[in-house]
Amino acid sequence: MRTFCKSRGFKALLCLAAFLVGLLGYAAATRSGLLAGAVLSPLQSALSSATTGVGDFLGGLFSSSSALSEENAALRKELARLRTSQAELDELRRQNALYKSFLGVKVVHPDYEFAAARVIATDPAEGSGHVTVNAGTQSGVAVGNAVVTPDGLVGIVCEVGLNYAKIRTLLDPSLTLRACDSRTRADGLTGGTVALAQRGYLQLTRLDRAGAVAAGDLVLTYGGRYPEGLLLGEIESLSLDSDGLTKTALVRPFVDVRTVSEVLIITHFEGVTE
């Protein structure tokens, strides 16, 4: 050990460790993306499209046995269809449908400016609470931008690089957004627990006890830093908090963050406040 501590290799490792500590400090101060991320982002993007396809295929293999037989029959039909069609054409059709639905969002909100992006990476330690997409400052994306699909809000950009951005999703329990009930306009804060996030749910907390919020109501973003009226989800149940003054709603998000692959990032909207 003593010999090792005196070796050139050990000194090199100490230099490497000092570099990593410096990197930690720099990143903590600036919250900006690294050039290496920009270099690897296109490669990761290409690989993620391949693994998403394989993941869909394997996901089918692990479904229940009764579903498997039905799926098997369906797959045979699908295979016959695929033999007669071109894979490239299918991809174009799919993208066409997706962009049409995105266009719907644009028609409803003409003031929104979007950057289209694809999910390229996830973080094992964060589950569905954190994803990386393949659009960054080059596409006008900035920290704090809202990320949506035609179904509703996905999350908020928390870090951005040249051609990638990291997003905290609705299923991150530490992401707190001001949201309101669409019917009564009663507002609260989004949040939740890891256990709920695993099941694909979040909570709307600090709702006024006297408010008329009910199960089945829609939950929307309140406005301010983020565009107003973005769909979050639907209230499934309500419970009185232990303080007896406020209520908490269990919300099922409209977007399944765990399977989402194509998103839009709202880079600008009218009425944005810093």
Partner: protein, 186 residues
């Protein structure tokens, strides 16, 4: 694990070539592991994903010694941090230490069970440090659930695939040209 028997090359050029080739292969494997670990739905069972970069660091270190292991760990951790929710350098530092520590076993005859236990210890250290810093100390809600629902499944899944990674790296090390495998300290 039995490191490749040192076959002393007298020609320094061939030694350098062998070293370069070895690190190119290990580098490519780390890059592949990074892509697989961060790609959405790749190798996912439920919500669990194997921490391939950590397993690769441990097993590469068993063949290349503490300095090589530390360098491989720093590289693997740096890649890991690129698309994760962690600050760049966090996993780099942890894996540097893990790789360096595992590298000290490079000159010993490490059996598969011992390598598996070593991987388990490395996983425990990484997961507990990550949880401690980013969940517990950060004051995130529901720290116990995070440990139970996120960290434990990832750890168990990684532990399950650890033997496969061990035998794979062993096979790769046997195919690569041999030279003094674990570093000597000048």
């Amino acid at each position: 694990m039995t490191p490749a028997t040192p076959l002393r090359e007298r020609n320094p050029l061939r030694v350098a070539q062998a070293k370069t080739l070895r690190w190119c292969v290990y580098g490519a494997l780390l890059l592949l592991a990074f892509f697989l670990q961060s790609a959405p739905r790749a190798l996912t069972i439920g919500a669990a994903k194997p921490l391939l970069l950590l397993l690769l660091t441990v097993n590469i270190a068993l063949f290349v010694g503490p300095v090589g292991g530390g360098v491989a760990g720093a590289g693997a951790g740096f890649l890991w941090d690129l698309f994760s929710a962690r600050l760049p350098g966090f996993n780099g530092l942890i894996l540097l230490i893990v790789g360096c520590a595992c590298g000290f076993f490079a000159r010993r005859r490490i059996r598969p069970l011992a390598a598996w236990l070593l991987a388990g210890a490395a996983l425990l250290i990484q997961l507990l440090l990550d949880w401690g810093v980013h969940v517990w100390l950060s004051g995130k809600p529901d720290p116990v659930s995070a440990l139970w629902w996120r960290y434990l499944p990832n750890g168990l899944y990684s532990l399950a695939v650890a033997p496969a990674v061990y035998f794979f790296i062993g096979a790769v090390a046997r195919v690569l040209p041999r030279h003094d495998s674990a570093e000597t300290y000048p």
